[in-house]
């Protein structure tokens, strides 16, 4: 390469037929405009910029952020530890990014501003999968068919390994988004059925899809509302062959009651959406006093009696824990006045917390097993699967989409 020649060449008049032809004439179209700016405008612009960024810096140094976000129900990121290890591998920078965002002054209001901008001026139909419609808020849950199939395989392994001689049934709770009347069905029950049936067969399948509608779910939460579950219990009774005893009559309005604090609550979605919504009411159906509930204490490995409907839990950060105290590995509900001597083993997630009390009036004993909190291999140490009993696997779309949470090897 002759650099001298190149030098000479490139000092000539620039060629205009370069690979992209000349680039020289197209560089001023986005040049900042200055001629019309008055001094006042200039000063105001500089001050605004300085006040927002500089003021933001100072305000955030003074502000003490909360440790948890009540609206999102999660701990907020804290200042990461700075040392050579975290600095050199980039984790300090990554964690600091989260801390800076989580600890920002006025974060809740800013989240609300974003949600409003996305859903109204931008007119998006959802915010990162969260939608707000006539029937309330929800989150689209596209079905992961591979995960659903693996859930079926885990159910099959539990059935084969532990439930010999039991009448086994299975079903799933369709996502509320399919009842929302929106353009995008988030969770396709037919696809879920098609993914699981080849593994589990159709004999024990209980299809709950048409027993639910938009009113079956809280407007602000993903869960279903207990008093509206009569068609669901009827379907279970019909398919599983038990005699249904509905707790407290047939009319929702005349039988449902509110917790003492009037039952007003906000589910998970207003916090996730960062938008205000009208309160939901946590109606529940009272049970006969003869029905007792025992919770398995995983620390003492003993069964402890407790309330089926726990008013203290209603006042907690997760009001839905009012039903059977929220996340629990094992629960036993006993009904000495049951119309039969049958037992039910309910492999479940949080949806069954409000469903199980409705089944308690029909069974002598119900044992709820949440395999997210106890490994199936440990379960026989604490409960006995009685041959001739019923077993029902009932999981929501969230579990079908995240099979790894089920502790089944």
């Amino acid at each position: 390469m002759n650099m001298a020649a190149e030098t000479k060449n490139t000092n000539k008049t620039p060629q205009t037929d370069t690979p992209t032809a000349t680039l020289t004439e197209a560089t001023d179209a986005v040049e900042p405009r200055t001629s019309h700016s008055s001094l006042a405008s200039t000063l105001a612009t500089v001050l605004t910029f300085a006040l927002i960024l500089g003021g933001g810096f100072i305000a955030n140094r003074i502000y003490t952020p909360p440790e948890i976000s009540l609206s999102e129900r999660r701990p907020l990121a804290t200042m990461p530890k700075l040392n050579w290890g975290t600095l050199s591998d980039g984790t300090f920078a990554a964690d600091f990014d989260k801390f800076a965002a989580d600890s920002f002054i006025g974060r809740e209001q800013l989240r609300a501003l974003k949600a409003w901008t996305v859903l109204y001026p931008f007119a998006e139909l959802d915010k990162s999968g969260l939608y707000l419609g006539d029937s309330g808020a929800g989150r689209f849950q596209n079905l992961d068919t591979d995960s659903a199939r693996k859930v079926a395989e885990k159910i099959a392994r539990v059935t084969t390994g532990y439930l010999s001689g039991l009448n086994v049934y299975w079903g799933f709770v369709p996502d509320k988004s399919i009842y929302a009347g929106r353009y995008l069905p988030g969770f396709d029950p037919a696809a879920a059925t098609a993914a699981m049936t080849p593994v589990l067969g159709s004999a024990g399948f209980v299809d709950l899809t048409d027993t639910l509608n938009a009113n079956s779910f809280y407007r602000t939460d993903l869960h279903w509302s207990q008093p509206w579950l009569r068609p669901t219990v009827e379907r279970l009774a019909e398919r599983m062959g038990f005699e249904m005893v509905w707790p407290g009559g047939s009319l929702v309005d005349s039988t449902a009651k509110l917790p003492p604090s009037a039952g007003d609550f906000q589910g998970v979605y207003p916090g996730q959406l960062a938008l205000e919504m009208d309160d939901d009411q946590m109606l529940y159906l009272p049970l006969p006093e003869s029905i007792t509930t025992h919770y398995f204490d995983t620390k003492t490995l003993t069964w402890v009696e407790g309330a089926t409907y726990d008013e203290a839990e209603f006042a907690s950060d997760d009001p839905y824990s009012f039903f059977l105290r929220g996340p629990q590995a094992l629960i036993r509900i006993e009904n000495p006045d049951a119309p039969n001597d049958k037992e039910l083993f309910l492999f479940r997630d949080s949806f069954s917390s409000s469903l199980a009390p409705l089944l308690a009036t029909s069974y002598r004993q119900i044992t709820l097993i949440d395999l997210r909190y106890i490994d199936i291999r440990l379960v026989p140490d604490y409960i006995e699967f009685t041959p001739g009993s019923d077993a029902l696997f009932l999981y929501s779309s969230q579990i079908l989409n995240s099979q790894s949470v089920l502790l089944v090897p």
Partner: protein
């Protein structure tokens, strides 16, 4: 560190600007102390995400600065060539090792059925940009278009200047040589820079990031319809434009605040009437770099046609390769090389005689095809997507999902399309020229708009927006 992040906006930038402007300017007007502030800030900025590569960058800077001194002292062509060659070997060698080593090993393994283990080296952020900046200095020094920089701190400040360090525009030494020693700091410049920065930030956070969600959703969807194919192409085309041009606006804006004039990088590329025109408007600092330092030294067009073709394809293959160590980027570059040759030799001036609407459609269609080649991994996947764009291999015209997302993103896509034209600028100029008696509404509207945009951007960042940045990987 990303410009579009809370740590940058509410920690790094205010602190850096405060220290920078508090640092006094000596009576001589020299900006040496402020350069030192910028240098330290730039190293912190770079070390935020890449602490281990700071030393690499610093070593390269010192090496090429030293070669610059030796080059300036060289009196013979042979000596100059030697020092330029040394600089190229060092800069391209480092770039090649960190960015392209695994590509060559992989290609070698595939070609010869070998299994040489990959090095799996993390790519130093911005290496493609700062390598080209340093080389421009060496080439211009060799050609005596610039004078030698004897102060290593000033040279380092030029190379690592944080606004343009990781994603351009590719600033040549000649662009800022004078400003490294003396530059103007005025309220007017600061206000214009702050405005430009905020507009770029809004383009990136409010439009690019949001439309990126659409592109990601559609790409991950199982739906294989005609509409979903086009939805992805349009979304990605807008995402990459607002992403990269927004970042360039931010860089230029910060540069303006600090007293620098960086070159423009975009000029409404999607209103181009031909691909030739498009490349005059897209990533202009890269195009001009290849033009001046590769194409023209190869002889440009002043050679026999066959050699001219070779020059064009060499430049475009390199342009593609610069974007990434993958055959698809080379294919993307060559694709544009072919189109440009056809436009020049087959179409001649006929494109100019087409009605503007037809020329627009032609250009946008070819740009869209280019983005498919650019972004879709695997030639088979790219071909399948291109097929769906013309109705081949589709599962129908549209599906529930694509219709839903078309409806959901209709406003943003419309904003994106209009925002990619000079319309916003035209509206801005009308507002600026608006007078009510002696009152100029824009004097009030400008800071209000700036405040609103900053507030909205902050809201989007605080809530954990999807925040990818395509050009960081280059």
């Amino acid at each position: 560190m990303l410009f579009s992040s809370v740590p940058f906006l509410y920690w790094f930038l205010p602190l850096t600007l405060a220290v920078y402007f508090i640092t006094p300017l000596p009576a001589s007007g020299t900006t040496r102390w402020r350069n030192l502030v910028l240098l330290v800030a730039s190293f912190i900025f770079y070390a935020w995400g890449e602490p281990i590569y700071v030393a690499l960058m610093a070593a390269e800077v010192v090496a090429l600065w030293g070669i610059g001194l030796l080059l300036a002292r060289a009196t013979t062509v042979r000596a100059k060539r030697g020092w330029v060659g040394t600089a190229v070997v060092i800069a391209i060698g480092v770039l090649g090792y960190f960015k392209y080593a695994d590509f060559f090993i992989n290609s070698f393994n595939t070609a010869f059925g070998l299994s040489i283990p990959l090095l799996r080296i993390a790519l130093p952020i911005g290496i493609s940009f700062y390598t080209f900046q340093m080389l421009s200095y060496i080439f211009d020094l060799s050609a005596e278009r610039v004078t030698v920089q004897r102060n290593v701190l000033d040279f380092a400040t030029y190379v690592v200047l944080f606004p343009q360090l990781v994603a351009g525009p590719i600033v040549r030494y000649s662009d800022v040589a004078a400003q490294l020693s003396t530059r103007s700091h005025t309220l007017q410049r600061f206000a214009d820079g702050a405005t430009r920065f905020t507009v770029g930030l809004a383009k990136k956070v409010l439009i690019a990031n949001t439309i990126a969600e659409l592109a990601t959703i559609v790409a991950a969807s199982d739906e294989r319809t005609f509409l979903s194919a086009w939805l992805w192409v349009v979304a990605f085309s807008l995402q990459i434009y607002f992403d990269f041009s927004g970042y360039s606006d931010m860089a230029i804006g910060i540069g303006t605040m600090l007293g620098f004039d960086f070159p423009e990088n975009f000029n409404y590329p999607y209103i181009a009437l031909s691909i030739t025109d498009f490349w005059r408007r897209w990533h202009m600092s890269l195009s001009s770099w290849f033009r001046d330092y590769v194409y023209i030294p190869l002889g440009g067009s002043r050679v026999k046609p066959i050699r001219h073709f070779g020059n064009i394809f060499a430049v475009w293959a390199l342009t593609g390769f610069w974007h990434g160590a993958d055959w698809r980027f080379i294919a993307w570059g060559l694709y544009f090389g072919v189109v440009l040759v056809i436009e020049k030799y087959a179409f001649g001036g006929r494109l100019l005689r087409l009605p503007a609407a037809l020329a627009h459609i032609y250009t946008l269609l070819l740009i869209c095809i280019g983005w498919v080649l650019f972004e879709i991994a695997g030639f088979g996947n790219a071909a399948a997507l291109l097929g769906r764009m013309v109705g081949i291999g589709t599962a129908g015209l549209a599906g529930a999902e694509s219709l839903y997302y078309l409806r959901s993103y209709a406003v943003l896509l419309t904003l994106g399309v209009l925002g990619a034209t000079p319309l916003p600028r035209w509206i801005g100029e009308r507002i600026a020229a608006w007078r009510i008696g002696s009152f100029t509404p824009s004097a009030v509207l400008r800071p209000i708009a700036l405040a609103l945009l900053l507030l909205l951007v902050t809201a989007f960042l605080v809530d954990g927006s999807f925040n990818p940045f395509i050009y960081f990987r280059f």
